[in-house]
Symmetry: C2
Subunit: 274 residues, 2 copies
Amino acid sequence: MSDAYVHGRHARESERLKDQAGALVDLLHGDTSYTAGSVVLEAGCGVGAQTVTLAQRSPKAQFLSVDISADSLAQARRATRAAGVTNVQFGQMDVFALPFAPESFDHVFVCFVLEHLSRPAEALASLERLLKPGGTITVIEGDHASALFYPDSAEAHKAIECLVELQRRAGGNALIGRQLYPLMVETGLEAVRVCPRMVYVDSSRPDLVDGVTRKTFTAMIEGVREAAIGAGLIDPESFDTGIRGLLRATAADGVFCYTFFKAVGTKRRAKESR
Amino acid sequence: MSDAYVHGRHARESERLKDQAGALVDLLHGDTSYTAGSVVLEAGCGVGAQTVTLAQRSPKAQFLSVDISADSLAQARRATRAAGVTNVQFGQMDVFALPFAPESFDHVFVCFVLEHLSRPAEALASLERLLKPGGTITVIEGDHASALFYPDSAEAHKAIECLVELQRRAGGNALIGRQLYPLMVETGLEAVRVCPRMVYVDSSRPDLVDGVTRKTFTAMIEGVREAAIGAGLIDPESFDTGIRGLLRATAADGVFCYTFFKAVGTKRRAKESR
């Protein structure tokens, strides 16, 4: 996992991720639940933005949520404790070097992680090995080129492109959502099903205007301002115009859309799978 | 309605619209049905790509489907006759000069029409006047900038941009989908609800690969090849590379997404509405 861009490291980023989790929980996780007794690996749990939801929706499953960052894990622990969740254990581990025997888990869950990895296919393959035959991997990723807004703004697209480019330079891929199907199929998973989840925001949904357009997406782009300017990708005025372009979509006649991709695949039951 | 770009005029275009209707019917129209006895105006029915579906889903409603093109109406008539549909009447009329008294219809349905109009707000307002208080207007439009594909292709985006630009020059707006909410609200409609409908295509859904990616979207872009080259928007090689870029998304590891926007609004019940 790249050290150059780890979500959830700063207080403001952590606040952003919590807002995001609140507004988008049903859209992303409404159809994820694990049966009683399942042992589920959450790979790359970060500050636990998804962990509480996951655990609450499958109260009789056991979760092991791992992340490479001790700071993030400390926050994740606090979040689960505050929510009274008791079916989660945490571990500080690298997703590329997990110390588990093959076929240790019933299911694997990975959310907003592959976008930061330079070798997402390799990560998926190593997670697949940890899965029992017949178990599932669920992967959720965004795709920043799916951002669509009214009024449109060329400067806003340039500001978004700064984040895409910085993530690319850090070895990641902010456009990975659309690629989940081939990634999962190439890993050897079966019955791969991708279901896009578009969050659509207009002023008839003020909670989403605030929680998604302003505090999630625009805040995320704004978060790379100094890095983008420092890297010479854009000048301060253009960047700020871009942010204003995004915020324009929060007005009464504004519209904002963003698409997440959720993929579920099943590990082959045959011994010779890989 | 602009004469420069009327859908359904040519045989090939008409074939394309039928493929589109087949693959996308449930996605777009699954939740549209009108109660027995309702009188519904379908404004801009074209070759009847939606008419048969609409009429079959509301067999006890009465439809009046109008279009400015006699050729399109002839095809629409044949399509309804072939389907055994008997609850549709047709009329050759301009959507800007409909010869009906105010409050003549229980509901209005408009699909893939506003994108071709230079004054979509005015068209909506004139349709709203024909509606009885408490009646609904349903509007469905695409948004060509929502096309997302894997692998990505800069040339494909340029080819798409040719269609967007030609439609703009003809007075239309191929990016109108995202704008439906403000358009409906500004018309004075109440309880406006927009619901995006993304069609997601990967090789696990071969009917959509063929029906949507190849025969609907790529064919539509391909359809403006001569016009785009003639207008000096692009050179033949770049355009053809763009088309190959779109077709690349039909391969086993390819992905294609496109978003339609469906909006429903209700006419105010108060007399002073407008």
